[in-house]
């Protein structure tokens, strides 16, 4: 990952989020409060606007900019979680870590903030699968899709979806899906 790739990543992620805004909200309807699409779309619009305006020149500057914008523009559960993830990534990047370790620190920060474990039917499920695959150099689009899809049969134990108990079974977790988009576009940015 480098600064140009990183900027491209955010552009692609934003595109995906805006295109799939309604679908994200739809996923958030049966097991949530119908706002995940709005939340992510608002946040990512600010991220790409800030990139254009502030023109970050290093990966570290970029990660910082993403952190601030997600933290201060998203709100809800996903804002502090994605914000914490990028804050952790920024710190790991400052410490000179490799990309796999950087992503892993992001995941750790999500879990520190949200206390979710694997199998709780949250974005954490996707992050765990992706971090492991990146560590082993095996991340593929298929693997991401599988990780997202794997949240479907689970019963939610964290977040708003946990309120509906058994009725959460059979629905993809919206945060897992948006995390899926994050990693799909990361792969694409890296490949370009």
């Amino acid at each position: 990952m480098n600064i140009d790739m990183g900027i491209r990543w955010m552009e692609l992620f934003n595109e995906k989020i805006q295109n799939e805004k309604d679908y994200l909200t739809q996923l958030d309807t049966p097991i949530g409060d119908s706002d995940h699409g709005n939340n992510m779309s608002r946040g990512m619009a600010h991220v790409v606007k800030a990139i254009e305006e502030q023109k970050p020149e290093t990966l570290n500057e970029l990660l910082k900019l993403i952190t601030t914008n997600l933290l201060s523009k998203v709100g809800g559960a996903s804002g502090p979680l994605y914000g914490s993830a990028f804050m952790g990534m920024m710190k790991a990047e400052t410490a000179g870590e490799e990309w796999a370790k950087i992503l892993k620190t992001g995941l750790e920060n999500i879990q520190m903030r949200g206390k979710a474990e694997q199998g709780d039917k949250t974005m954490v499920d996707v992050w765990i699968a992706v971090v492991e695959a990146v560590e082993n150099g095996e991340l593929t689009h298929e693997l991401i899709d599988e990780a997202v899809e794997a949240t479907k049969p689970l019963k939610a134990k964290k977040g708003r979806a946990s309120y509906v108990g058994d009725r959460s079974i059979g629905h993809i977790d919206p945060g897992a899906y948006s995390s899926g988009l994050l990693f799909h576009t990361m792969l694409r940015a890296e490949a370009e």
């Binding site: 409060d33 119908s34 809800g76």
Partner: protein
């Protein structure tokens, strides 16, 4: 599709806040370019009570900002917790030098955003503490859930803590008061309709013409059971039985109640329901010493209501509830 009076769904909270402060300049003001509503009254070196959360629950929380209740409220997007920077800003503007006490509803978003704000405030040397309200008994509290939600009972927390702050209690005393208060308060709700968030085309859930849903939250979350619409008496019976099961046996039979409209249910129906609550409480040999009826913690245009019981374990609760305040909507 549900019809709404608005200009642009993306600006609805912003315009609502402007509308509020333009309408009540003597009571509240907006911290420019934020979702923070602050009371206008002079700072008097007391603990500041600050709350907030997603919008769509009006009059909560901004309608309860004012002397004797909240010092400030932070309004997030519709059904979306406000962000840590906004909460931090509210903490700063509310602080009178004696510390700030946060009232947080138990949702993962609120918890995380308020927690981060609290950490930031601590780093800036502000005395700060908080309580999490989780009065909704519809959701099981277990290792496997987020815990119970914070709903209409939050308004009683604002009122009682606001009174304590006004009386000059320290932040430590307020924390203790809050920790004793929460376990004595339980709420449960029911819906006749789902809700549609501004800008979306579909309601959160739909109910048939003769159906109700027990145990709904205040964000269009589905509840625990769907049934045929019943009489007010039967609805009260179901909710009251569920609530009373949650209270441990105790010789203290004195309660304060809230009959809370969820936004689209007329006051007439709320009072018919309140009448049945009073009657059935009496049948159970339980006394109601204070009642609040109306739209306090709503869920946009949802038709339905919730019932809150607060056991009056401490005489201070009743004294606090009865005290006059200077807010738009208490």
């Amino acid at each position: 599709m549900i019809k709404k009076i608005l200009n642009n769904p993306d600006n609805i909270v912003d315009e609502m806040i402007d509308g509020m402060v333009l309408s009540h300049p003597e009571l509240i003001k907006r911290v420019p370019e934020t979702g923070i509503i602050q009371r206008t009254h002079d700072k008097k070196g007391k603990v500041a009570i600050v709350s907030g959360g997603g919008s769509g629950h009006e009059p909560a929380h901004a309608g309860f900002v004012g002397a004797g209740m909240l010092s400030a409220a932070v309004c997030g997007a519709v059904f979306t917790s406000p962000t840590p920077d906004q909460i931090l800003e509210a903490i700063k503007v509310a602080d009178e030098g004696k510390g700030v006490f946060l009232v947080i509803k138990n949702y993962s978003g609120d918890i995380m955003n308020f927690e981060m704000a609290q950490e930031l405030a601590e780093m800036e040397g502000i005395k700060i503490d908080s309580i999490v309200v989780d009065d909704d008994i519809a959701v099981e509290d277990s290792l496997y859930t987020q815990g119970k939600r914070g709903v209409a009972g939050t308004i009683f927390v604002h009122k009682i803590l606001g009174y304590a702050a006004e009386k000059g209690q320290s932040i430590e005393e307020i924390k203790e008061l809050a920790e004793n208060l929460i376990p004595n308060m339980k709420t449960i709700g029911l819906a006749l309709t789902g809700v549609t968030t501004p800008g979306s085309s579909k309601p959160s859930f739909t109910l048939a013409d003769d159906e109700i849903e027990y145990g709904v939250g205040i964000h269009g979350e589905p509840g625990y059971r769907r049934e045929k619409l019943q009489t007010s008496k039967d609805l009260v019976d179901e909710l009251l039985t569920k609530l009373l099961e949650e209270f441990e046996a105790n010789s203290n039979n004195r309660f304060a109640i809230i009959v809370n409209g969820l936004g689209g249910t007329p006051l007439m129906e709320q009072y018919v329901f309140a009448n049945d609550v009073h009657k059935q409480m009496k049948d159970n040999k339980l006394e109601i010493e204070f009642s609040k009826v109306g739209n306090l913690m709503t869920s946009l245009e949802m038709q339905g209501l919730s019932l809150t019981l607060l056991r009056l374990e401490d005489d201070f609760y009743l004294e606090a509830l009865k005290a006059t305040v200077d807010t738009i909507n208490w």
